[in-house]
């Protein structure tokens, strides 16, 4: 298929022998340096890329980042484990739930806590809702960046429904902090469960709607098919993960490889691309939304109707909120956990979670006591930007936006 070929092969040159162009004066050529960002609207925050251009082709690109660096890893060393949960919201502020999930899982691994069954299902379900939100956000903004504006309104319409649930769930739309170490803050209200059930029927036809806008859109196809091709081997070597890696044909998905939460009890498949181009990464995200719906459905069916939503380890996990106000012991427990933290054993762990962007991992070194000694965040956005120079070489300036858009970068997570 000719149109799937790597666009880098097509280079237009003036032919000195051709009768129409042989009399043209020889033009001076030099490399042009273009600063893109940090205030460019398509950089999803504050990212600057310095492009070396030959005509309109990119020969080299230098990524400049750190505009949003807030020293989150340093802050973590100065607070307790519980106090770090709200900080994780501000990493990938588009998908806070998944950051909470990834962090809480890492601390649970450190403390060796098993989360109760009902909480596992709820956590998995909300994480998948968050994945849908992330992919909707990505789809809308990526299409907007490339020039297809309509999809944006449709995806944001549906994203809004889901964000309202989060509002009902924990009082915040974006910075949720709903997950707790050992469980979740509080159980889902029944009214919300009913809304989730209705959404399962509402949403799949909407996916078809987005697809109609894009998959028959010649501009969308021309700007995604064969753009930003990366081979599986290179993608692995760069440490890419999530849909960016799976687009190249590697089925690396931590939900399957090192299964966690309620994922081992749910049936779902991991979509894998072939060509490693932007279109495949788009297709994977669309398919993942369909898989997420399946997972949510299974969670709803299998979830125990009642049960604890917080592990019962009083030295680590928080007491139920209603008891804090009526019971002295619970109040002391809550006070001690927030003022001093819990005593973590000395040791180090790494725990990776499949967020919708890729592998979000936390490497925690503890020397005992209430604070982490060192906390390193393996953020997919940062690592994906490492491959930008390699992937942008030979493409046009306009494709630069497509390329870092296709990683689904969020600078809050990238710069930490």
């Amino acid at each position: 298929m000719a149109h799937l070929e790597d666009q880098r092969e097509t280079i237009y040159k003036v032919d000195p022998e051709h009768p129409e162009t042989k009399d043209l004066p020889v033009l001076r050529s030099e490399e042009l340096l273009l600063n893109m960002g940090p205030q460019h609207p398509a950089t999803h925050g504050v990212l600057k890329v310095i492009l070396d251009l030959e005509g309109e082709r990119i020969t080299k690109s230098t990524v400049v980042m750190g505009f949003l660096h807030r020293g989150v890893e340093k802050l973590a060393e100065h607070g307790t484990y519980h106090q770090f949960i709200p900080h994780t919201d501000r990493l990938d502020y588009v998908c806070a739930m998944y950051n909470n999930f990834a962090y809480c899982r890492a601390v649970e691994k450190l403390m060796d806590i098993t989360v109760p069954d009902r909480a596992e299902y709820l956590r998995t379900m909300v994480a998948e809702i968050q994945r849908i939100i992330g992919h909707l956000f990505w789809l809308g903004t990526q299409a907007l960046d490339i020039g297809a504006m309509t999809v944006f309104f449709y995806t944001f319409r549906d994203r809004e429904i889901l964000l309202d649930w989060f509002d009902e769930l924990c009082g915040a739309r974006l910075t949720t902090s709903w997950y707790r170490i050992g469980g979740i803050e509080k159980d889902l209200p029944d009214s919300l469960l009913e809304k989730v059930r209705q959404f399962l029927d509402y949403f799949p036809p909407k996916i078809e709607e987005y697809v109609i806008f894009l998959e028959k859109n010649r501009i969308w196809l021309a700007r995604t098919v064969g753009v930003a091709v990366i081979t599986a081997e290179d993608a692995l070597s760069f440490g890419l993960s999530g849909p960016t890696l799976r687009g190249s044909g590697v089925d690396y998905d931590l939900r399957k490889y090192e299964s966690y939460g309620a994922y081992p009890k749910c049936e779902f498949s991991v979509p894998v691309g072939k060509n490693g181009d932007t279109y495949d990464r788009y297709w994977i995200r669309i398919e993942e939304m369909r898989e997420s719906i399946k997972i949510i459905k299974q969670c709803l069916e299998q979830m125990p109707k009642e049960g604890a939503v917080m592990a019962d380890v009083p030295s680590v996990t928080l007491p139920p909120k209603d008891r804090v106000f009526t019971n002295l012991e619970s109040m002391i427990q809550q006070f001690k956990l927030f003022s001093q933290g819990f005593d973590a054993p000395a040791g180090e762990i790494y725990c990776g979670t499949e967020a919708h962007k890729g592998e979000l991992g936390f490497y925690i070194v503890s020397t005992g006591g209430g604070n982490p000694y060192r906390l390193k965040i393996r953020s997919p956005s940062f690592i994906h930007m490492g491959a930008f120079d390699h992937m942008a070489k030979g493409y046009m300036i306009a494709d630069a936006v497509t390329i870092f858009g296709s990683y689904d970068i969020v600078m809050g997570e990238c710069d930490r």
Binding site: G66, F238, G347
Partner: protein
């Protein structure tokens, strides 16, 4: 002992300093001189086949003789196993070999380690600050002796003091 650590121990008896296993994770500390050689083996040997770079980190232990610890974590997609390789680096002569020639993703991750902890990497193609500004000269923010509020550079920003005087 974990089979991965065992095979490293058997192949590089001189290089392996210590093996650490906890909560299912396995970490092997390698001498600084041989860490690149060990990683090359991990990358190229078909039984190891670590093709995926997970993360590069560093830990500061100010009281230890060899102050810093550089951590590379790698994963094998085919064999589905992971290992953490560590090397200790003293504060004077703060160098360690770069892994960029083995895993290209190490370029940005090692730059971050340099930026945050001040550890230099031999044979790194582009070792510059990455998150902090290029002209930043207060030192290395993630070291334990660096105060949380910084060393005063922020106080010189004019816009922060506007209206207070």
């Amino acid at each position: 002992m974990h089979p991965l650590a065992e095979s490293l121990q058997a192949r590089f008896p001189q290089a392996v300093v210590s093996v650490y296993e906890w909560r299912g994770d396995v970490a092997v500390t390698i001498t600084r001189d041989q860490v690149h050689e060990v990683c090359r083996y991990l990358r190229e040997d078909p039984k190891m086949d670590f093709d995926y770079m997970v993360h590069v980190s560093s830990v500061d232990w100010p009281d230890d003789e060899e102050r810093f610890e550089v951590v590379w974590e790698v994963y094998s997609i085919r064999h589905r196993h992971r290992i953490r390789i560590k090397a200790r680096v003293p504060e004077q002569d703060c160098f360690v070999d770069s892994m960029v020639d083995l895993w290209r993703g190490a370029e940005f991750m090692e730059r971050e380690v340099f930026d945050m902890m001040g550890i230099r990497f031999n044979n790194h193609p582009d070792l510059r600050r990455i998150l902090m500004p290029d002209e930043y000269d207060e030192g290395w923010p993630l070291r334990k002796d660096f105060p949380l509020q910084g060393k005063g550079w922020r106080d010189t920003f004019d816009f922060l003091n506007e209206g207070t005087t």
